[in-house]
C-alpha cells in the first residue's frame, strides 16, 4: 500500500470540507480523484502534504503514519505535488526550478557551498544532469535557460511536473494537470503520465477532463460535498447511478469517451 487515507475529516470553522473519507492507493497505479468543484479534492492534497492538518483521521504512507509531519519532511519521505494554479519560481530559469526540486536529495551546507568542496561540485553536477534529464522527459530541454514566467502555459504545467519528479517521489500528486490544455497537449500529457508510471512512480491525479481520467486511471474515487460518493474502476464509475446524478450527468447531457 503506497498511501492509505483512513477516515479523514477536515473542518474549516463550521464547514465540513471533508467528511470521513477513506481510500487506499496500491503501488504503481494511477489513481483518480474526481468530483464537482468544492468537493474537497484539493483539500485532500493539502492534507496529504500537510499544508493543513486533518481535523480527524490518519494518513499512512507505506504503512507509516505521516499525519502532522512537516510539509518538507513529507516531501523527503517521497510525496511531491503540483498545484492547480501553477506555483513555479517565476524568476528562475526552468533548469533551476527543477534543481530546487532536487533540494531534499542533496545536502550541501553553507560551508561546502561557499568553498566548493569536491563533494559539493559533484553533487551540483549530479543535480544539473538529473534536472536536464527530467526537462528532456517533459520536452523542455531546449527551454532550460528560459525564465519560468516566460514559458507558455502548457510548458509551465510540464515544468511543474519535472520539478516535482526531481525530488524522486514514490507518490506524485497532480492537481488538474490538464487544466487549460488543448487536445494535443492533453494527449502528450497522457503519454507523459504513463511514462512516469512506467518508471515506478505511483500517481494520484485530480482532473476534470473526463476522457483523460477514464483513459488514464486504474481506479477512481469520487468526492461530492466532502464525502466519498463512490470508488472503483473507470467502468464502474461511469455506470454508477449516484455519480452520474451528482457529477457526470446523463449520457444525453455529456458525452463520455
Amino acid at each position: 500500500m503506497v498511501l492509505e487515507i483512513r477516515n479523514v475529516s477536515k473542518n474549516f470553522g463550521g464547514i465540513h470540507a471533508l467528511k470521513d473519507v477513506s481510500f487506499k492507493i496500491q503501488e504503481g497505479e494511477i489513481y483518480g480523484l474526481i468530483g464537482p468543484n468544492g468537493a474537497g479534492k484539493t483539500t485532500m492534497f493539502n492534507l496529504i502534504t500537510n499544508i493543513f492538518e486533518p481535523t480527524s483521521g490518519q494518513i499512512l504512507f507505506h504503512d507509516t503514519n505521516i499525519t502532522g509531519l512537516k510539509s518538507h519532511k513529507i516531501t523527503e519521505q517521497g510525496i511531491c505535488r503540483t498545484y492547480q494554479n501553477i506555483r513555479l519560481f517565476s524568476q528562475m530559469s526552468a533548469l533551476k526550478n527543477v534543481m530546487v526540486g532536487g533540494h531534499c536529495r542533496s545536502s550541501s551546507g553553507v560551508f561546502s557551498s561557499v568553498f566548493r568542496t569536491k563533494k559539493q561540485k559533484s553533487e551540483e553536477r549530479g543535480l544539473t544532469q538529473k534536472a536536464e534529464e527530467l526537462l528532456d522527459l517533459v520536452g523542455l530541454l531546449e527551454h532550460k535557460d528560459t525564465l519560468a514566467e516566460n514559458l507558455a502555459y502548457g510548458q509551465q504545467r510540464r515544468l511543474e511536473i519535472a520539478r516535482a519528479l526531481a525530488s524522486n517521489p514514490k507518490l506524485l500528486l497532480l492537481d488538474e494537470p490538464a487544466a487549460g490544455m488543448n487536445e494535443n497537449e492533453t494527449d502528450s500529457l497522457y503519454d507523459l503520465i504513463k511514462l512516469i508510471q512506467s518508471k515506478g512512480v505511483t500517481v494520484l491525479i485530480i482532473e476534470h477532463d473526463m476522457p483523460l481520467v477514464m483513459k488514464l486511471c486504474d481506479r477512481i474515487t469520487v468526492l461530492n460535498f466532502g464525502e466519498k460518493l463512490a470508488e472503483g474502476t473507470p467502468y464502474e464509475i461511469q455506470n454508477n447511478e449516484s455519480v452520474i446524478e451528482a457529477y457526470l450527468g446523463r449520457e444525453e447531457d455529456v458525452e463520455i469517451a
Binding site: I51, T75, R87, S90, Q91, M92, S108
Partner: protein, 317 residues
C-alpha cells in the same frame, strides 16, 4: 611619489563606502529569502558596542573584538529570527524596526555599561593599532614615503576592502548554490518551496542571522574606524539609510546593493558645493527613482541585457 596621490579625506570616504556596502549586503541577504529586515542599525549597534566594550575593558585585540561583536549580533539574529518567522513583508519590517529602537534605548539607559547617550570614547582605532604593530616589526610609513596619517587611513582602507571583497565573494558563491536556490525559491513562493522539501524555517533563520552577522561586523568595524560611538549612530535614521542603499541600487541583485551604497555615500560628498541644499537634492532623487524605477537602478533584466550585449560583441570579434 605615492604620497602625493593619497588623500586621507578621500580614503576616509572610501572606508565609509566599504562599511556601507557591508550594511547594504546585510539587508540584501535576508531580502534574498523574502525577509524585509530593518533591524540592521540595531544589529550594527550590538556589534559596535560589543567589540568596543571588549577592547576597552579587556584589552582584547581588535580583530577578536570585531569577530565576537559580529558573532553576538549573528546569535541575536537567530534568537530574533525564530519568532519573526511568523511575520512577513511589512509586518516583519515594523517588528525589526522596533527591535532596533529597543536596542538603541538599551544603549541609552544602561548607563553603567554604555555611558548612556554620551556614548563610548577611547575605542582602540584600527589604523593606529596597525601603525603600532608595523613599527614593532620595524616598518615605518616613511619607508614608503608616506606620512603617518596617510599610512593609517590607507591600512584601514585596505583591511576593509579585503573584508568587503571576502563578503561579496561569500555571498556570491552562496547564491549560486543549493543554499542560494533555497533562499530565492522561498522569496518567490514560500509554500511551493516548502512542498519541494525545503525546510523554510532553517533557511529563513539562516539568511536573517547572516544579515545580522554582517550588520554586526560592519558596526564593529565602524566603532574601530571612528574611535567613538553613541546610540544616535544606530538610530532609526541609520536603519532607513541602510534600507535605501539596497532599495535604490536594486534589491534583486547583490550588485544593486553595492552600487547603491557607493552612489548614495558619494552623493552628499560630491554635492558639498551646494552645501545646505544637498540633502534636498538627495531626497528629490530618491522620490524620482521610486516613482520611475521602483525595483531600483539595477535589476535582473538590466543585468541580463548587459550580459547579452557582451556576448554579442564577443561574437562579432
Amino acid at each position: 611619489m605615492l604620497a602625493d596621490f593619497i588623500n586621507p579625506y578621500h580614503l576616509q570616504i572610501a572606508s565609509f563606502i566599504l562599511i556601507n556596502i557591508l550594511l547594504a549586503i546585510s539587508v540584501y541577504v535576508p531580502l534574498s529569502s523574502g525577509q524585509l529586515s530593518l533591524g540592521s542599525a540595531g544589529f550594527m549597534g550590538v556589534g559596535a558596542y560589543t567589540s568596543a566594550l571588549l577592547t576597552i575593558h579587556f584589552d582584547l585585540p581588535i580583530f577578536v573584538g570585531v569577530l565576537v561583536g559580529a558573532a553576538v549580533a549573528g546569535c541575536l539574529g537567530i534568537i530574533i529570527g525564530i519568532p519573526s518567522l511568523r511575520l512577513s513583508g511589512v509586518y516583519l519590517a515594523i517588528a525589526t524596526l522596533g527591535l532596533g529602537e529597543v536596542i538603541r534605548v538599551i544603549f541609552v539607559n544602561w548607563e553603567s555599561l554604555t555611558k548612556g547617550s554620551i556614548g563610548l570614547t577611547g575605542i582602540p582605532q584600527m589604523g593606529r593599532e596597525l601603525l603600532k604593530l608595523a613599527r614593532n616589526v620595524g616598518i615605518e610609513p616613511a619607508m614608503f614615503g608616506l606620512r603617518n596619517n596617510q599610512f593609517v587611513y590607507l591600512m584601514v582602507f585596505v583591511i576593509l576592502l579585503i573584508l568587503v571583497i571576502g563578503t561579496i565573494w561569500f555571498v556570491f558563491r552562496q547564491q549560486n548554490s543549493r543554499i542560494g536556490r533555497s533562499f530565492s525559491s522561498i522569496q518567490m513562493d514560500e509554500k511551493a518551496a516548502e512542498s519541494m522539501g525545503i525546510n523554510i524555517t532553517y533557511f529563513k533563520v539562516l539568511s536573517f542571522s547572516q544579515g545580522a552577522f554582517l550588520a554586526g561586523l560592519a558596526g564593529a568595524l565602524f566603532a574601530h574606524v571612528m574611535g567613538y560611538i553613541s546610540p544616535s549612530d544606530f538610530s532609526y535614521h541609520r536603519a532607513v539609510e541602510i534600507l535605501i542603499f539596497t532599495v535604490f541600487g536594486g534589491s534583486e541583485v547583490i550588485i544593486g546593493s553595492i552600487f547603491g551604497a557607493i552612489f548614495l555615500t558619494l552623493i552628499p560628498e560630491v554635492l558639498r558645493f551646494v552645501s545646505e541644499y544637498r540633502y534636498i537634492i538627495y531626497g528629490i532623487m530618491l522620490v524620482i527613482l521610486m516613482a520611475v524605477r521602483p525595483q531600483g537602478i539595477l535589476d535582473i533584466h538590466l543585468l541580463s541585457k548587459f550580459k547579452r550585449l557582451k556576448r554579442s560583441k564577443g561574437g562579432v570579434r
